[in-house]
Symmetry: C2
Subunit: 151 residues, 2 copies
């Protein structure tokens, strides 16, 4: 089944198109389509033509952002598997929203804290927008999870 290889490859291309490492996307693509869902580092390296080092680095990154987890393997070592909410993580950038929110508030403070100043308007709207998103995106995600029965 070399089509599966090409699928993972394609996910790599798309994700690298939005600024992520290619190996990251390939690994994600593989974990999306592989059977069984659990795969060892060696299997991933073989099926994707990546070095062990790249797999190690890539999987650590995927683990760190909470898209993948390690479980003890049947024999020796571990295997990796995608978490059910892996994709949700890609959209829930609350941390980023809040960082920008804080940045905008800084700017307003710099202008004397008077939000009614015309000059402060761009900053105020921006601040409010990111606050709005930080509140609403998680709600949206919850709604999807409930609808999909993912609890």
């Amino acid at each position: 089944m070399d089509e599966e290889r090409r699928f993972a490859e394609e996910v790599g291309v798309v994700l690298s198109g939005i600024g992520l490492p290619a190996a990251f996307g390939k690994l994600m693509g593989r974990l999306l389509i592989c059977d069984p869902p659990q795969q060892s580092s060696a299997q991933l390296a073989r099926s994707l033509g990546l070095s062990k080092g790249s797999v190690s680095t890539g999987m650590r990154a995927l683990e760190q952002v909470g898209m993948v987890r390690r479980v003890p393997g049947a024999g020796r070592g571990h295997v990796y598997e995608m978490l059910p909410d892996a994709l949700v993580r890609t959209v829930d950038a609350r941390r980023v929203y809040l960082a920008i929110h804080a940045l905008m508030q800084n700017g307003i403070d710099l202008l004397g804290g008077d939000e009614s100043l015309p000059r402060a308007q761009r900053l105020r709207v921006s601040r409010d927008f990111y606050a709005f998103m930080a509140e609403r995106i998680p709600q949206l995600i919850d709604e999807f999870a409930r609808r999909e029965g993912l609890t």
Copy 2:
């Protein structure tokens, strides 16, 4: 007012923290806080300590993603100004959502198109999630725009 310079600098740091070019963030930061809102390339280069080349490249990028527009200047040349919905653009990545949606559908097709297969479940949920987001994020943005009176 060197604090304004530092503000732009700080926006640059935060945005480069999420993978964007530093110049991009600095320019955005400057356009958020500057007075008047319209600024020429030369002004931007001077106030940010960037080369003309960097400003040219950065502004072209900001224009291309629709965060900034060029308007004819009073004297010669043009000036740039932030668009009211500049920040909205940063969140409305519908194109990306739809690209991933298509990718997931590809994967399902590869498995024979049978969505009920356990093996296809990760792909199906992913596909549906991105479809959901592509539909809902714009609604969210509209809601904010209405609430804020931005039409």
